[in-house]
Amino acid sequence: MATLLEARGVTKKFGGLTALNNVDFELEEGRIASIIGPNGAGKTTFFNVFTGLYVPEEGVVRFRGSTLTGLRPDQITALGVCRTFQNIRLFKNMTAVENVLVGMHARVGSSLWGALSRNQHWTREEAALWARAAELLDIVGLRGRANELARNLPYGDQRRLEIGRALASKPALLLLDEPTAGMTQGEARSLMALLRRLVGDLGLTILLIEHNMRVVMEVSDHVTVLDYGEKIAEGRATEVQKDPRVIEAYLGRRKWTPRAEAGDA
């Protein structure tokens, strides 16, 4: 399978803190992959580098062979990478369907003149946008709440609406930042089913940041572990789980040993 997303030697610093240190990363098309790691490991920073919110000091990110580093977030979205946020960032005072419609902005062909004159092209496109928004709300199971304000939706629905909004830009790669945070086990399970469906039906590739280990193990083909801005392990979920460096990063060390030795053990 072809490599969809590729990061080479990405380094991102905030003052004296190195949030990402020379990280390499590859993601193959049609997969669900996860990035895990303790709090402050640099996972969200990595996402922000992918989506153009941060520009890395060093290194490069490529998507389908074209360089993303240096592009604006909206340009990256237009290329087919879209994301959700760890702390839900919906447009709170807009309705659910309007949130999804905003997500389509990159795919709207009408101009200012189209909106002002309401010509045939605009009318047709607007109708198509609304029809697709209805479809997307159907996919994430929010059809019945289309006209509710985003801020009035229950927490789990807000998470799913964010996914719907991200899907609206017709991405090839969907980045989800802790999509099951705060969900019950049942809600998380149905979300995972949804993600599998998206990969199967829409041919998406999905990259997750996730803390819920059960979710990670169940759904992802490939897991990358970050700790203190460095990649400490990657591979199949079951393999990574046994890696002593990963256990150490999550649970702490049994006794003091130099890092290199711990890695070799």
Binding site: L53, P73, D74, T77, A78, F91, N93, R107, A133
Partner: protein, 426 residues
Amino acid sequence: MIALIKTLLDKPLPATIVVVALLGVTAWGVAHFPRSIVVFMLFQASIFLLYFARMPRWLKMSLTLGTLGVLMPVLGTINAYYMEIAIQVGIFVALALGLNIVVGLAGLLDLGYVAFFAVGAYSWAIFGSPQANLIFGGDFFPLSPWWFFVFLFVGVGVTAGAGILLGLPVLRLHGDYLALVTLGFGEVIRVLANNLDKPINFTNGPKGITPIGRPPIFFAPALRAVGIEPDPNVIYPLYLYALVLLIVGATVLVNRRLEDSHIGRAWEAIREDQTAAEAMGVPLVRMKLLAFACGASFAGAVGVLFSAKQIFINPESFTFMESIGVLAMIILGGMGSIPGAILGATVVTVLNLQVLKGLSLWFNELRNAGIEIFGYNLANLPTQLEPAKYERMVFGLIIVLMMIFRPQGILPARRRTRELTEPTDP
């Protein structure tokens, strides 16, 4: 009482009867008591009742058009001052609607909005008066009155350009910082207008520009044909009122169409969460510049009209207080709400021009009458107590009270709800 009115307005037939009756009675009242401010305000209130009444769209549109297009000018010929008020209300409605795009929709706090009004006004003032001869030499100016119509569009273009010029350097700022820079921009334009009389006299400084050309009465032959000799003193207020009505109609239309399109949604998304909007594919720079340009262009069009109406303009008309006044209108009416902006502009303008002035008049009459109450002669009341002198204080008080009791404004923006069509089966 309010509940009764609500139930009455909720059904089409009683609503139509009630509104038409109220309009008729109050209009009759205005015609018979042309000097009563209260009656005129009741008339205005019944126009707004029309907005709330539930009735078929065509009926509502034609009633609105009939009231504003026929009834109002007729009343205006009875009391010319009402025409003046209607024109000013129209000008401020257009300004409020323009600012509503920038502040209400896109969430970019602009405290120097009146600068665009000034740019529009000066663009016609300079070329529609002999002033331009001082710049270019010769004896070519003022341009013929027909150019006024061209300048309506020139004003739109020039101010849209000014909006982009202001937008470019401040795009990285938001919130308080943006507000401060726009405030500065407003002052810069005013100071420029004040000082650009040397070395080349562009604006004639604080002395202002006069006489500014008025639009041509191109329909004069038609009036003569039906046997009316056009008297400029009667025709111009009506004519300017018609132009204002057209501009307001256009701004409402543009506002509504932009609001309910991908552009308006992108603006609102920027207002709600700029970072998320950008991550969802909204190009921040382009959409913000578009908001500045659109908002500014409305001010440009009414600016041109304003200078033609006043015949004389100077920098005094474009002070910081004017910017705040327009902002107060949309805060009062409800941010991001078109009917709110219209209501806010009307209330604030009428409050300024009629209520406070009327109270002052009454106060002075009281003084002049010199009645004695509890051994105190009212003639001794100090002139400082005149209500018109407290215009800004009353304003401030209203806004403070609004922020406490109804922060969303009188007519807050209502979310459109729409039935979604069934997704078609693949």
